[in-house]
Symmetry: D2
Subunit: 144 residues, 4 copies
């Protein structure tokens, strides 16, 4: 509906599954990160450029996931990416995973700290990035 | 151009790369298999159904890859999937990887044997699958 | 020191790292699960047997991780596996990751539900498994 | 028996397997590379240092694998690493995978080119590395 709603879609591939017949739990977080990268690129902030220039790193300092449904081989999954929180030195992205018939399958979140690659020290988020992310929190909350 | 030409597209994600800054070599074969699955689904032979029913397995008995260009984080890659050979009990799929500006980046092939899951014995390819694949070899050769 | 202390050791391989030069965050959870499997095997409850017989599944319903230090290519990491909690239908495993020189690098936990594979329904933990795990919680607390 | 014989051992973890119940084929090449890294470290040439200093890169330009036995979850696998060939600008490593009861399970090889990271150009192998590798080819051939 709104410009900042972002859905990333993937199919559960054989390479995602394990001998129990469903997606291996850590692959959900890999797909969350793949979705985050696609989302950042759409915001005009591709991660590959950021890593190559070495200007700023946004390493994950916390990650969590809740699994509601087994995700089976061949299933289509939609990931809705959103901004949950923006702080002075970090922000939180959340991910809602639904099946093609719109059943909630899983949710996840990742907390990213702003770090200066040269020293490894945490730093304040650049003002323009913080503003962009903050605008998306408001939009996500429907308070726009 | 023709109905059976099949291109699978992916972006090199951070999860594909390694500390040398480019795609880790084994990830190319993972992407080849992801492309093969998408291609088989389009042929009306989704692998997940085949594995779930346990009627036939098509395990890889040989795989190889040649790497021409480093594939960098953020790069878009196109995989052209084709049938290289169909034998009585096995077939060979090949994969040509190109960059978005059409430079050859890598090639790969996988040889799949027909196996009865219950016993692990090799078997002859089902006639309809062999015929479908053989038609695609001819098409690929431009002799159609 | 005590029989139930279990340390799992791995080296950060190139395949674990990403273009930012350190271990990709989801790989930490993969290593946590590898450590959990080795630990379960040592308890006499190898996961592969459990999955093959289909008697009981212990899928992860929640996972989380906190990252304190970047884990660099070539670094040796020790994972201390422990039982954090045992409930009637689920249990929580925790993981402390330290570097070879004993600096805390990360921590993680996974919550496993007891599920009947045939139906997908949650069930009570088998009494012997619950007792074994509960004994390890006590030992871990040093209240033995 | 001899100093340069090098065996790398791993257990097939759930994270290695797929919904067909056995190790996903590309994971064999990941384990081959993990074994290569451990072997290079034992030769006194750890890859992480080489990548960090940026003095020389040894990217894989060709990889291949033959799969003889399905590798099942929980199985112990031994990888014998050896030097197959040393050329002026590249070398070939081979890998023989056997089960714990010594059945041949798979084989693989990787061809590594010497490349200058700064320019991406191929270069001649440093004389000391070429000599070390060549000595191992001779040893492997039993012609020592």
């Amino acid at each position: 509906m709104q410009a900042d709603a972002f859905d990333y879609r993937f199919d559960v591939k054989l390479s995602d599954t394990d001998a129990a017949g469903v997606m291996f739990f850590a692959q959900l977080l890999r797909h969350a990160h793949d979705a985050y990268e696609a989302w950042m690129a759409r915001l005009g902030r591709p991660l590959d450029g950021m890593i190559r220039t070495g200007s700023l790193a946004l390493p994950i300092v916390h990650a969590q996931a809740d699994y509601r449904l087994p995700l089976r081989h061949g299933e289509t999954v939609i990931v809705r990416v959103g901004v949950a929180r923006v702080g002075p030195k970090s922000f939180t992205i959340d991910y809602r995973f639904t099946t093609a018939d719109n059943r909630p399958a899983a949710s996840a979140s990742t907390v990213h700290a702003a770090v200066l690659p040269a020293t490894g020290e945490t730093t304040t988020l650049p003002a323009d990035l913080a503003a962009d992310l903050a605008a998306l929190v408001r939009a996500g909350e429907g308070a726009g």
